[in-house]
Structures are given as C-alpha cells and as structure tokens.
Symmetry: C2
Subunit: 124 residues, 2 copies
DNA sequence: CTTGACATACGAATTACTTAGTACTATAAG
DNA sequence: CTTATAGTACTAAGTAATTCGTATGTCAAG
C-alpha cells in the first residue's frame, strides 16, 4: 500500500519550514510566527501540526503543559523528495528540461554556473 | 483581483501534456490516451477539459459533432509558470538551493553542466 | 422511422485541504 | 478555593480537486 500523502501541501510546508528553522517549536511559537504574516487561528495551527505528526513529519513530546514538536526528518531529505516528485510530475523525471527553463528565465547565470561547477568538483 | 488558480493541478497537467503533444485533441483522443494507463471514465475527461477551458488553458471549437480543443498558451510558458511557483514556494524564490539539491542527488552531472554552459554561451 | 453509437450538459458524490469554533483540563495567581 | 489563562481534544464546516452517473441530443445504418 503506497502512502497517501507523498509530499507536503503548501500550508504544511509553510509550517515545516518554521519548525526546521527552530529545530523545536510549540504550537504557540508557530502560531505567532504565522500571525506576523496573516490572520490565522491558534487552533488551526494546532490542527495542522497534529496532521503533520500523524503523517510522520513531526514528533511531539510533552514539556510542562504543552507539546514540543521537532522535525522527524531533516529538511534536505523532505525538500529533496518534493523536488523529485515535482520533476517526475512536471518534467517526466528528467532534470534537463528544468535546467533549460532556469537558463531561459535567467534563474541560472554565470554566478550559479560557478556554484554548480564547484559543487561537482567537490563530489569527485 | 488575483487569479484563483495560479498553476495546474496534477490531473490538469496530465491532460495538458497530452494536448500539447497533439496540438489539437478531442475528449475521445485524451480519454483513450489516459485509458491506456489507468481506469477513467469518458465523462471525467470531459469535465476536466471543460474546467481547463474555463480556466483559460484550452480553447475549443466545434467540428462536426464534437469539440476540438487546443492549447491556449504554449507549453513553455505554462510549465515555466509552474516552475516559478514551485521555486517561490519551496525555495523562497531562489534557484541556487534547488541546484544544490540537483547536484547532490546526481540529477546534474558533467553532461548537464555542459548543456548549461552551452545554453549560457548562446544567450550572450 | 427506429435504434445504436457517440457526443455534450448537468448534477452530484467523494476525498483532500484548510480553517476554526466549542468543550474540557490543568496550572498559577489571587 | 476560585478564577483567569493557556493548553489540548474533538468536531465541524467550507472550498478545491477528482471522479462519474444520468439525461439528452444528433447522426447514420438498417
């Protein structure tokens, strides 16, 4: 049986980013961070974090009265999975057409090219 | 007022890919193409294509008894928009961390690097 | 002219995603 | 002890995405 939710939904991702930033976070921490950008209810954040725990993206531990959440997986791994899913879905699994787009939209320029070159060297 | 649907949903994308391939297509064409991969009802495809027309991704024209659909926008433009949305949402708008992932997962190797280099040269 | 094949129109059910309200509990302050 | 506060649990409701059934219309073959 294949897992139902392969990747994070947009709102889930938004929350996960904040938790990764902090390494550990309570509902209140995330609630306040989100509130700085948009109107949202405390219980909405709680629900989302509970869902993230159910899906295996967050682990929780009770500390005093509240739960403290922490990421179950490193950011790189999860984001990498999202990227792979995107490439599969949009570019049929090959990165090259993606690169063509990045070059044509000037997302990649000389500067980024140097970065890639350097990273490839390090891998050798 | 900002448009409601910025990007194509997974199923919408699947259909758009097939229409782009063919340039023009009827519901039956797409239905048969999809059916080769999975169970799906004819009316499901019809509904999806009607939605795509409502959203402005497809244009239709009646030919004999059936509608003939064609893309309203070139593939590059739409896919480019999806890529931009993804980079914004997942990588906060910068392509460099994306490149880091591509290198580390070996999606980019020497071969792809040459491709980028060549494309950048051509743009100069 | 009746019937079968094939098309659209319309409506609706299901599931996923997002948001949030209400009830209840425990702790800390007075 | 009472009460305000801060937390969780549970429930529900709205919207988007996906799927498909039924009704209806048209054309062509017999």
């Amino acid at each position: 049986m294949r897992p139902k939710h392969t990747t994070l939904t947009p709102q889930e991702l938004e929350i996960m980013k904040l938790v990764w930033q902090r390494d550990t976070a309570t509902v209140r921490d995330i609630y306040e961070a989100l509130l700085a950008h948009r109107k949202i209810a405390y219980t909405t954040v709680m629900t989302m974090m509970k869902i993230l725990e159910t899906k295996g993206y967050l682990k929780k531990r009770r500390q005093d009265r509240a739960f403290v959440y922490r990421p179950a997986h490193p950011k790189n791994q999860v984001i990498g999975g999202m990227l792979r899913e995107f490439i599969d879905r949009v570019f049929n699994g090959s990165a090259e057409p993606l690169l063509v787009h990045l070059v044509k939209t000037r997302h990649i320029r000389e500067k980024e090219l140097q970065t890639i070159k350097r990273m490839l060297e390090e891998l050798k």
